[in-house]
């Protein structure tokens, strides 16, 4: 896929790298025993450690280590059995220690890869540069008081994984696909809930442009973009800005920018944000973080099947198209749902019902697959009713709609509403005879070779039976009766 910005002086390519901050799923914080739950009253989930009181010391949460390793394995990345926590020093109202404990030179996870599934069914590989553990900051609220900023430290010290991609993406769509795929993997792994609205997954976007074939040019970092759509918009805007600056003979300064979703623009953070000198050094309150192969292997053994493997299996075992497989594995719950439906049934049929009918209905309802009024067992039973001839495809769709509305079992609906397909040839023959008798001219036309009219007869018979007749039986009988 090519995405080229056509400037006045020629074509420009966009270079994108993403830094994702993913909040680790854990009960307690990275270095303190305070809770991590979202939405608590201000400063109630704060220990003296999180508030940076004198003499307070960090002790690492085993779960954070485990989750980081699990995520690293999910990203097919190198796990560093020895890593070091470093302090990143800067002053800010919501950074009580005056430094953030992070990892700098020796992160817990090194090089990895992530496969993008593009909308056209193709795939692309993006390199993962590193993943490291760090503390989240607190929250500043600027709109509570005319002259003061309020600070809530509930989030201070919550474990984050910073996942840094290589500058391997070239289009806003790829950046979107990266975020969606990363989120899918994190959710499969159970290491982050991926909720961008609540801020448990946040994204910094690095954007630069260049002439095709050129080396990298200066990049700008757009901080804290909080939805996939905004990330894509921010990239588009920022790339165009760079092209304009270059084409007007200007220079891009390396800087941090903010995305304004209202205006669809990025703007410079002109204050001291840009004058940072973080003075990283190993945190003397902590020793190097070390673990052995056995620890890694134990986690590896507990890994779930991840989207890429699942997708390949769906293609191989169920004969699905790459597109259907991609759609189904995007959320683990959908994939599980599909597999329940497909069990002992035709995979493609099951996939069709899930991706088209079910997802369509859920979309309208604004519900996720876990909240579906129709269970996988019920959808399977519906398909069974088609297979055993109880329902025609058309009837089945009607039954499905009632299932979505009522949540009832398909058999119950068919029974109560008499929606059973008519396969009794006597009844069908009777209907055919009536239709033929009323339309003898058309019967003659068919016999004279106008085969296409057969379809019209089928329709009339179906009408006469309120759609309950088995269309195949109708067809067969019609041919026999008209053509002999």
């Amino acid at each position: 896929m090519s995405y080229v910005i056509q400037g006045e002086t020629g074509d420009w390519e966009v270079v994108i790298g993403l830094e994702v901050h993913a909040q680790v799923i854990s009960n307690a914080k990275l270095f303190s025993g305070a809770a991590t739950a979202f939405g608590a009253e201000a400063n109630t989930q704060v220990s003296f450690i999180d508030a940076g009181f004198p003499g307070m010391l960090p002790v690492i949460n085993a779960m954070a280590v485990e989750q980081a390793v699990r995520t690293g394995l999910g990203l097919k990345a190198r796990i560093n059995k020895r890593s070091v926590f470093a302090r990143k020093n800067y002053f800010y109202a919501d950074l009580p220690q005056g430094y953030q404990i992070s990892q700098y030179e020796l992160p817990i996870v090194g090089l990895g890869t992530l496969i993008l599934d593009m909308p056209d069914g193709s795939t692309r590989e993006v390199g993962i540069e590193r993943l490291h553990l760090e503390q989240d900051a607190g929250k500043s609220m600027h709109d509570q008081h005319p002259s003061k900023t309020f600070v809530d430290l509930n989030r201070s010290g919550v474990a984050l994984m910073e996942i840094v991609s290589k500058p391997d993406m070239r289009t806003p769509e790829e950046a979107g696909a990266y975020l969606r795929k990363l989120r899918a993997i994190l959710r499969y792994l159970g290491t982050c809930d991926g909720n961008m609205e609540e801020g448990s997954m946040r994204c910094d976007v690095n954007v630069s442009v260049r002439r095709p074939g050129e080396g990298f040019r200066t990049r700008c970092e757009i901080k804290n973009v909080n939805s996939v759509r905004f990330v894509m918009q921010a990239i588009e805007y920022e790339a165009k800005r760079h092209v304009e600056v270059y084409e007007n003979g200007g220079k891009i300064e390396q800087e941090t920018r903010l995305f304004d979703p209202g205006k669809g623009e990025t703007r410079s953070l002109r204050n001291k944000e840009n004058a940072h000198d973080y003075r990283y050094f190993p945190d003397p309150d902590l020793l190097p973080l070390e673990f052995d192969d056995a620890f890694v292997e134990k986690i590896r053994a507990s890994l779930p099947e991840l989207p890429d493997e699942k997708k390949q299996r769906f293609i191989a075992d169920y004969g699905l198209s790459p597109y259907d497989a991609t759609v189904l594995v995007f959320e683990k719950e959908s994939a599980d749902y599909f597999e329940k439906v497909a069990k002992g049934r035709d995979g493609k049929t099951a996939a069709n019902w899930v991706t088209t009918n079910l997802f369509g209905a859920l979309n309208k309802l604004g519900k996720g697959v876990t909240e579906s009024p129709v269970s996988a067992e019920q959808l399977g039973a519906l398909i069974d009713l088609i297979n055993d001839g109880t329902l025609s495809g058309r009837l089945a769709k009607d039954v499905f709609e009632i299932m979505i509305e009522t949540g009832d079992d398909p058999a119950k609906i068919v029974e109560e509403r008499g929606m059973k397909q008519v396969t009794d040839t006597g009844a069908i023959e009777k209907a055919i005879d009536e239709v033929m008798a009323a339309n003898m001219d058309k019967v003659e036309d068919i016999r004279a070779g106008k085969d296409k009219l057969l379809g019209w007869f089928t329709g009339q018979v179906m009408k006469a039976t309120q759609g309950k007749a088995n269309p195949q039986a109708v067809n067969d009988l019609l041919k026999k009766k008209i053509l002999g």
Binding site: S26, N27, A28, S32, G33, A34, A35, E41, A42, N43, T44, Q45, V46, S47, F48, I49, D50, A51, V59, I60, N61, A62, M63, A64, V65, V84, F91, A93, S140, M141, H142, Q144, H145, P146, S147, K148, T149, F150, V151, D152, L153, L258, L269, D277, R279, P282, P284, L286, L287, P288, L289, E290
Partner: protein, 95 residues
């Protein structure tokens, strides 16, 4: 290494410590003297030496993922110079 007033002013800003202009020259002299003193480290051949990361030979201990702390809002805010409605406050920050 000799530090000039501008450098000292920049370091002081990085450390967020207000230094009166009048004190800069003496401070620059003192800091330069200290840096001059530590510069003898350059004499030591440290080729192939790993920097010390911890004085003890221990490995980092891990804590269980259990909530054992927090729920002490009043204690956390007890010493705050200007806490309002359960929040710490600072002069308004304009982003």
């Amino acid at each position: 290494m000799s530090l000039d007033n501008t450098t000292v002013r920049n370091i002081a800003f990085l450390a967020r410590i207000d230094v009166p202009e009048a004190e800069l020259p003496q401070l620059a002299d003192q800091l330069s003297a200290i840096l001059g003193f530590v510069e003898q480290l350059g004499e030591v051949d440290t080729t192939g030496v790993d920097p010390m990361t911890s004085v003890t030979d221990m490995a980092l201990r891990w804590r269980d993922d259990v909530v054992t702390d927090g729920g002490i809002q009043q204690k956390v805010l007890a010493n705050a110079p200007d806490a309002i409605e359960g929040f710490f406050t600072v002069p308004k920050v304009v982003e």
